[in-house]
Symmetry: none
Subunit: 217 residues, 4 copies
């Protein structure tokens, strides 16, 4: 396949395909090993070739013993999730500072967009796959999605606080409509997840005042 470049001190996050020796660090946790594992996990999960992403495969690709993986993560999926958060977690942090409508549309569009990037998409899919088998990962994933829901929920709350949303609006329902549609389309792939959809979804959730006086006077 590809030639083996040295991967000098693992500051470099790129393993070409296989790993080569990395100095032991004695009694303390080897950060380089941790990085190598996360890298390898992302790389394999993101390869998109539908390979099963075995623990053995990750360990081998990272040039690491299986035990070193199990020592620090409880399951394969935990590694993946960790990798995802480490690398791709900050994407949708959705800086505020506009109308609710603008913020929401931006949030949704950014979410859609982040998931479309090939590597992330593959990792997400793999995560879902694995979470089906691994209850532990399922819980981690649930916790992770909870943080995303909370972020969105707070965005909506801020909007409601500014009076841009009816006081009785069911924010949880709105959040789940957004993320539900997102995951549903993401997993099944039967419909687009682009800016247009983000736009229309925003519109559907926040009927424009001119046509639909949802908001109190």
């Amino acid at each position: 396949m590809s030639g083996n470049e040295p991967r000098p001190d693992t500051g470099g996050p790129e393993q070409p395909t296989q790993a080569e020796p990395r100095p032991h660090t004695g009694r303390r946790r080897n950060e380089a090993a941790r990085q190598a594992i996360l890298d390898a996990a992302l790389r394999l999960a993101g390869a998109g070739d539908g390979e099963p992403v075995t623990i053995d495969a990750i360990a081998k690709a990272a040039g690491v013993g299986k035990q070193t993986v199990y020592r620090w993560w409880p399951s394969k999926g935990a590694v993946l999730l960790d990798a995802l958060i480490d690398r791709a977690g900050q994407d949708v942090t959705a800086a505020g500072g506009g109308t609710l409508r603008e913020e929401l549309r931006s949030f949704i569009a950014t979410t859609f967009d982040a998931a479309q990037r090939d590597s992330t998409a593959a990792v997400l899919r793999t995560l879902l796959r694995e979470s089906a088998r691994d209850p532990h990962l399922a819980e981690l994933l649930q916790r992770y999605t909870a943080t995303r829901r909370t972020a969105l929920h707070e965005l909506l709350e801020r909007g409601r606080g500014r009076g841009e949303l009816a006081a009785g609006a069911d924010l949880d329902l709105m959040v789940d409509q957004i993320y539900g549609l997102f995951w549903y389309r993401f997993v099944l792939g039967h419909g687009p997840l682009d800016v247009g959809v983000a736009e229309r979804l925003t519109a559907a959730l926040l009927p424009s005042p001119s046509t639909v006086p949802v908001l109190p006077a």
Copy 2:
């Protein structure tokens, strides 16, 4: 997919746990074996004890050779999906004959309800689990969900035809909001899927005319 004749004799459709011999049918497919396999699959998947639902287990529980399973279904999940459609598919057939609002609320509530029944829920979860590993099942599952979406889509179309929905309404988006929320909550289990939610979801999608004159004229 296939019509189910009642399997008239054999009286009890319940094999307690193990099966008893069943007559050969020569070179024709043995319908009794098919039933036994589907029964066993549902029984095991619905047991809810989180057991992995092996093919060996299904075959053994059905009193059938493994090859007989593989002869007719390409994968474990295909068996489950077939079983699900055969047994539980007709639940949400959404009888018509009311206002769009009533029909929609009923459809959603029925969908939620069907998935809440323990046996169905377990089967659905097992299906998701397996579809993670098995691309073929994933496609089957996708096809199945497509039929459900179509059903819902037609319900909405009829409503629009009766003028109960704006001509420009994005029906696909609405469908995915509904099923998206459903699957999202079903899988993650972070929120309820009860009648109240069905109600509020309906309301969110069909704003009442008094408060929101969405409809023309």
Copy 3:
């Protein structure tokens, strides 16, 4: 490999590799089917490609249902043995009419020769293979070898009757020395089975009086 001898008409003429329809014969045994099965068995066993020679394979190659095989032969090996006897059994019939030494050498040489012919060799090997698994075939094979031993025994007896062998000679032992060496070399293939060996074996068993003093002094 082996040339295809014509197998002149047989009624059901040439299967090239696969069979074509052959008329049913109603309630009596279909001789054409029998021939087709024996042919197919020999062909497969003699192919030498090391294929396992399945019953299914024989049936398919003969254009015959499995049951038709099982109806007439108790096991795969029985088919092979039957085929072998039918086709190749008469080879070593060892016409008499010389001195014992000449007859014996001829018998041995003919035996060696017959087994060397590629098609026969492969069938024999397959027979041995299968007889290891199939006790029934083992018995058949034993019966068959017994007839060969008897033939050889009678040859020796005739020689002894003519005074060409000591009255106390252990004919059974001699027979087994000959056939033992034959099978041993045939199966393991570590030594030749040619005319020279036949010659030397004969000499070893029938020491010529003139050269008898094998031992020096």
Copy 4:
């Protein structure tokens, strides 16, 4: 973690029927597992009940995963052969120190005897069975028989060196007469393999000078 009960030297080579846990040895091959596998293989093959001696059965009886068998042996028969050599190989080592006639008779008798012991006979038969299907084992078996032939050949050579055999004697032929008769009778079972036969076979191969005139005057 590692608190396993001692079983300090494994001295007792007999697992009654089922095995008990054995300590891991980390990344080195587990010798205890190897022993357990060989023991189990011999035990099962020697049971004489004609059971097919499955790999699963060996693994289970040895308290070992199937993979551990396949990791070290290419086939079932290789295990058996290994076991045979390990356990029973030294039997016929043919101590020297007599006349050729005595040594040869002893060698043959010992060989016959070893094969008659029930456990060994069953193992041998199983080996033959398996070597029928497994070309790899066939080769191993061939190699093994070659070592036996060599041993016998050397015995004869030593005799010839001492002048007890004619310089032109065809030792290979003699060897194959001996082992040929042995295997022939062993496999077919149509004649005895006892001391008397050993005696007569020796006499046939080494005609005593005094009695040489086999042929009538």
